[in-house]
Symmetry: C2
Subunit: 383 residues, 2 copies
């Protein structure tokens, strides 16, 4: 079975394990079971017709006396590119708008309050080619680009917060960025969050296109909760998650683009560890499919030149602060994951597990400052 064909871990377990063992395996792998979320028939029907996977789950929290439940529905969208990568750029972008637009319409039927798309969702993930043209032409203004305008329409129409990760062209500094634009459900651009850590993985070096972000660890206070966006490679950096959480994020989105051969065994670990360590929800989103490019390129691995980067394995999921997580979306299909979460769970788990209170952060700040210096002397005991 090739890695592009294998549909999902969850499906495999459910098809083969006896019921009693399946329950134990799921408890160990996924924690406290997330309940299925009942979704409207019209949404289920529309998703089937539009040929994408639709799944719904729910994280409960205990009832409190002083705070009402704080239920929010988030939507995670994963998708293939729509047109071939050598189609006219505007056609490619418009086709992607149209595809994602029909997914968002279904999300609205499901009562989604906050939706997040995958990293640089309007374009192929072409950074592996190392070509500047035509890929940099996909870059748009975060404030006034066509894609932002398109998302503002969606936001207003559906009363939905939209997180739109794009390749940003900032005319002000003649600079490209990897940026998530956050649009309020009013339709206003609330702000943007730039990718804090730029991958240098083997020869795959995105700093050919953009540098480390300068927006720090901004948190966006929306009507539905406090959210932040940790883009792709930033999920490997625990301090990045920590600082979003320290700034108050209740839900941290991680729009990504990553392939099986590289990162698949890390995928279920990192965003979930961040949810546990920081007493918050994390949403991991990855694109799907294999994208073919006209020019061949090498990958600094001694192998022959080729025309694709590999298989993007989807598997988008949501992790909760109590160590539980939803099953993942498919490894091969477009999909929408609708997850209802009671944000009260964050403080409940924090009050129980106390990782912040026991964190000794002031001491770590001192230690880290010393450790980061060129003349740092590690504390090593020898015989």
């Amino acid at each position: 079975m090739s890695t592009c064909e294998f549909e999902s871990l969850e499906k495999s377990l459910e098809s083969h394990l006896p019921e009693a063992e399946l329950a134990e395996v799921k408890r160990i792998l996924f924690g406290r079971e997330t309940q299925r979320l009942e979704l409207p028939t019209c949404a289920v029907k529309a998703a089937a017709e539009r040929e994408f996977e639709l799944k719904g789950y729910k994280f409960d929290a205990a009832q409190e006396q002083l705070r009402p439940p704080k239920a929010v529905r988030v939507g995670l969208v994963q998708h293939h590119i729509v047109l071939p990568t050598d189609a006219p750029i505007l056609d490619q972008i418009n086709a992607m708008h149209s595809r994602v637009g029909e997914v968002v319409e279904v999300a609205a039927m499901c009562g989604v309050n906050i939706i997040c798309f995958q990293e640089t969702w309007t374009m192929p993930f072409a950074f592996c080619t190392r070509e500047k043209e035509p890929w940099t032409e996909f870059a748009e203004s975060a404030e006034e680009g066509n894609t932002t305008r398109f998302c503002q329409e969606l936001a207003k129409k559906y009363n939905m917060v939209v997180i739109s990760p794009i390749l940003e062209r900032e005319e002000l500094h003649s600079t490209l960025w990897n940026t998530a634009v956050v649009i309020s459900n009013s339709g206003n651009v609330l702000g943007k969050s730039r990718k804090n850590h730029i991958p240098k993985v083997g020869d795959f070096n995105e700093s050919t296109y953009y540098m480390e972000g300068d927006t720090g660890h901004t948190v966006f206070q929306t009507q539905f909760g406090k959210i932040a966006v940790n883009i792709c490679y930033g999920r490997h950096h625990p301090l990045n998650w920590l600082m979003y959480s320290m700034n108050g994020a209740e839900v941290i989105f991680n729009p990504s683009a990553t392939i099986g051969a590289l990162s698949e065994p890390m995928w279920p670990i990192e965003a979930r560890n961040a949810a546990i360590a920081n007493h918050c929800f994390t949403c991991a989103i990855n694109r799907v499919g294999t994208e073919h490019f006209k020019s061949e390129f090498t990958s600094g691995d001694g192998k022959k030149a080729h025309h694709d980067f590999g298989h993007f394995y989807g598997s988008s999921y949501v992790a909760g602060p109590d160590g539980s997580r939803t099953p993942g979306l498919s490894r091969t299909r477009d999909g929408l994951l609708v997850v209802e979460m009671d944000l009260n769970l964050n403080r409940q788990v924090s009050d129980k597990w106390s990782f912040k209170m026991t964190g000794r952060h002031a001491e770590y700040a001192e230690e880290l400052k010393k450790a980061a210096r060129h003349d740092f002397k590690p504390k090593i005991i020898k015989e």
Copy 2:
């Protein structure tokens, strides 16, 4: 099936999944396959006679031109308490010495260079009772206690580095500590590493017995590699792992004592995330079994008083820097996990994935310092 009976995740998958799917499931769950390590027949026979599980795995690294392979074999020991918790204290300690001694003998047959026992391995994990007596009588001097002397004998006899996590009584400051004593293969006490984060989980508060450690993030340079010890609850704190790694640790041990109802879904996540994020090996060790106490105690959860804390689920494992991990030991049986690792893998993965180089640590030190202050103003954007 009760949670105390379920033998292991790995066994369940291997019994039921068709071969091709099993390979994909294992790849996603465990990463690049760790090879089985051939163990000597005498060791396999002795383990069977002594009724403990013996498993061996191997992490390879690529051949380099300038550095020879740096193969080291580590041993992880998980075990039940031997005598009932109301037996005379010295008998309990001696029985544990004897049991662990026979496991270490098998480890020596397997060529283990560095062995690590579970947290407070000479005693029941009695902190749930909140009684001081008789449990504090288990505390010993790290430098001159009987248990340290016993471990020094093992170390010399088998030319093995021994990590012995005990309840430490420090006469100097009339203080108890939760401490790992590190004994060189020469038999000398190399030093000690005290638990940096003390659990406050619900009503389970170990600070009744000891406070946060004062030994920082010491790394021990042994003949076989640079090692560190992150005790139990410290595995929930990504900064704790980071600082051991920044001080040079190639292998970080996490001797633990934790029960299924509390932490089992987090267990496969945290130590493994630390191995990935820090480009090092991590070794997670948990005790096994249910320990009964004479006095009943409550657990601050509204439930009736009871005589045990719950089921310690073993499942000890080793995680590598490339996202791969070994299968876990049993959830129910005593066991010895022998793992050979080529420490060259750490730098190879670091050179490929670059998490340290892209870490922006100096900036995080500044940010964290501000965030830890009482007058910190989070960076929140509102409409």
